[in-house]
């Protein structure tokens, strides 16, 4: 089976073949086909959103996705929650010598499919090869440019007391799927990562709802981390209602015995949106029209007091503070 060798990153014949047979073949677009040092792109009206993310994940193929899909969806989603229409991506690859070419093609194909789904073009790229053992198979950096339509200005500074908090679907799927996909974990489940672009939903939302204040995707650190960023040093707080938070039975079934809390787990295809209370139901219905928004819920509200804190109203009717985690969650022992 063909493998990546150092020469694939040398700029010589092997590099050219790699670009032609894998990248150009799948990423097929005019800007990339020029193969010049920089992609030349037209200017559009509005403001530019610009984001970057490096993707390292183990295992690189997992239920519901792979590192390629993640690399495109991750950056697209960062642009989408900024209120932008994602347009262009770059793709920087670091490959370990000996990496399987067939796996590389699967990953690139998945990037191309995800890009097509979102309407972005992968217009520039770079590949480096490092020695065996100097990297773990494949790392992907993607940077992305999106256009923020005129009149759209999402920011935590827009948040007002009384606003509603919407979560676009079940949480914890990605982190749980990855945990279980690791070789040393012998629990079997049907849980799939939620890794998926969300820009179709966010674009419709900002087009049709004027009261959208701010959006974020709850990746690492989960829902609690995002919400704490919103309230930090602000003159309002947030209260969530435990019974409204959407978590699938399967994810709960894995999290409970291990002592993991889905509110802190990473998601790769969800967003949190704060909207004016009077538009909350309309926003929710709009999100629920999408396949990947069916489980969306209004999970909380922006409150006057206590300030700068995120509270959870438990099903017993008591409030407890949801603090940011200071370290990685580890499964409990007994």
């Amino acid at each position: 089976m063909a493998k990546i060798i150092k020469a694939h990153g040398s700029g010589g014949q092997y590099s050219r073949e790699l670009v032609r047979d894998i990248f150009l073949k799948h990423f097929d677009n005019q800007a990339l086909a020029e193969l010049s040092d920089a992609a030349i792109l037209p200017l559009e009206k509005g403001r530019i959103a610009f984001a970057t993310d490096s993707h390292v994940i183990q295992p690189i193929f997992y239920p519901g996705g792979n590192i390629g899909k993640l690399a495109v969806a991750g950056t697209v989603n960062d642009l989408a929650v900024s209120g932008a229409v994602p347009k262009y991506l770059s793709c920087g690859l670091i490959l370990e010598e000996g990496f399987d070419l067939e796996d590389l093609e699967k990953i690139v194909l998945s990037m191309a499919e995800t890009a097509r789904l979102t309407g972005v073009k992968i217009v520039t790229g770079d590949t480096k090869v490092v020695g065996h053992g100097e990297a773990d198979k494949i790392y992907i950096n993607t940077s992305g440019i999106g256009i923020i339509p005129e009149n759209v200005d999402l920011s935590p500074k827009n948040i007002q007391i009384g606003d509603s908090i919407i979560l676009s679907g079940n949480i914890g799927d990605h982190a749980t799927a990855i945990l279980l996909a690791r070789e040393n974990f012998t629990v079997h489940s049907t849980i799939q990562s939620d890794c998926h672009p969300i820009n179709a939903i966010t674009e419709k939302l900002i087009r049709e709802i004027s009261g959208v204040r701010v959006m974020r995707d709850p990746t690492r650190g989960g829902v609690v981390t995002v919400l704490n960023e919103f309230v930090e040093n602000r003159n309002f707080g947030i209260r969530l209602f435990e019974e409204t938070i959407p978590v699938s039975q399967e994810v709960m079934g894995v999290c409970e015995p291990l002592g993991l809390d889905p509110l802190y787990l990473a998601n790769e295809g969800k967003f949190i949106c704060i909207v004016a209370r009077e538009e909350a139901v309309k926003s929710l219905e709009l999100i629920q029209c999408f396949d990947r928004g069916k489980e969306a819920r209004i999970i909380g509200e922006v409150i006057e007091n206590p300030k700068s804190k995120v509270l959870l109203r438990t099903q017993l009717g008591t409030d407890r503070v949801l603090n940011v985690l200071s370290h990685e969650i580890l499964p409990r022992i007994c």
Binding site: L316, T318, L325, S326, I329, I333, C334
Partner: protein, 363 residues
């Protein structure tokens, strides 16, 4: 039947709470109820149970966090084993962040020591089979919940003729330690919320001395909010009627005789020894060492290491916290010098540790 949602049903919670209020109103004094298990402490805070109980019921956290009671010198000892050539340590994740006297396993790992984190002891078996020439040492910690797993590992390794696997045991057992603690009169305990997982292995018998000799009511409890509320109700009812017996709220997980197969494996592979409980001290017959028959699977028998003298952390009051005398917030290090990023004591590391729970749910 759904094993989570029913036990979280808020309508049922309210009914039980109302009953607790009724019965506790008939008590003539304030009562202390100790939850032994760190998992219960976590659940009590997570579900907000501490905030809904009547004022005359005080909950105290006990010594039931496996990482917290592990002595600092065990970490020091494990680090010395990690320094031996051709040795890989295999451990549960919580333990790597626990500070030893001079270093921690995670620091040693970042500096190149071969330390693997596992979720099940059996992972060290496949590690041993895949790494001929490398000695795999499994760090055995935990109570009667994890000790049978380590025992199963040793028995499986023996039956497969594996020679490059051993156990460094710091396993502990509940009965002697609990009895010593409750008998010390350092803290007045009126009722015990007994650990569901430990009890699923041991059955009821480990509580009989406490109930019979010390006359303390005990109820074996599950980990969902309605489990805990029902257990508190059962305890309050016993206390009001001046009874002390062992009852089982967690009947879906615990049988009277426990898990006999697990007990047999544990009793075969291990022998009881005096064990040092961090912050509490030596307690006879409260630890488990690999029995002589299995010396070839005992890391201490295969290789001996010199362990540096233990250096006690100044100001850390974990001992008093685990004995229920003080609360984490009474410690001058809590939340300032001692945080989950930079833990001074094990109680700030484990998700079952009292200090970590108080920190996570701080107001």
């Amino acid at each position: 039947m759904n094993y989570i949602q029913e036990f979280r049903n808020p309508e049922i919670s309210k009914i039980i709470l109302h009953q607790i209020e009724e019965v506790s109103a008939q008590l003539e004094r304030k009562i202390n109820i100790m939850e032994i298990c760190g998992g219960h402490t976590y659940a009590i805070f997570r579900f907000g149970i501490n905030n809904v109980l009547p004022e005359n019921i005080n909950l105290i956290s006990g010594p039931g966090c496996p990482v917290c009671v592990t002595s600092q010198s065990f970490i020091d000892e494990a680090i010395e084993y990690a320094k031996l050539p051709n040795v890989t340590l295999c451990t549960f994740g919580d333990l790597v962040r626990v500070p030893g006297s001079y270093s921690s396993l995670s620091r040693e790992k970042s500096e190149g020591a071969s330390i693997e984190i596992c979720y099940s002891p059996m992972e060290s078996l496949s590690l041993a089979m895949n790494s001929p020439g490398q000695e795999i040492i499994f760090l055995g910690i935990g109570f009667e919940t994890t000790a049978p797993l380590t025992a199963a590992l040793v028995l499986e390794a023996k039956s497969r003729g594996i020679t490059n696997l051993s156990v460094l045991s710091a396993h502990k057992t509940m009965p002697r330690a609990l009895y010593a603690l409750l008998n010390s009169e350092m803290v007045k305990v009126d009722g015990l919320i007994c650990p569901g997982h430990v009890s699923s292995v041991t059955g009821y018998s480990i509580y009989s001395e406490i109930v019979d000799n010390l006359q303390i009511p005990a109820v074996i409890c599950g980990f969902e909010p309605n489990d805990i509320l029902q257990t508190i109700l059962m305890l309050v009812q016993q206390i009001r009627s001046d009874k002390a017996k062992i009852e089982n709220q967690y009947s879906r997980g615990v049988k009277k005789e426990g898990n006999i197969l697990a007990q047999k494996m544990m009793n075969r592979v291990f022998m009881p020894v005096t064990s040092y409980w961090r912050g509490i001290g030596n307690i006879p017959a409260s630890g488990l060492e690999v029995a002589e028959e299995f010396n070839s699977f005992n890391a201490r028998q295969k290789n001996s290491v010199a362990v540096p003298p233990e250096r006690i952390i100044k100001g850390c009051i974990c001992g008093e916290i685990m004995q229920g005398v003080k609360k984490p917030t009474d410690c001058q290090l809590f939340g300032t010098v001692c945080t989950p990023q930079d833990p001074q004591g094990a109680c700030m590391v484990s998700s079952e540790g009292g200090c970590a729970t108080y920190y996570k749910f701080r107001e």
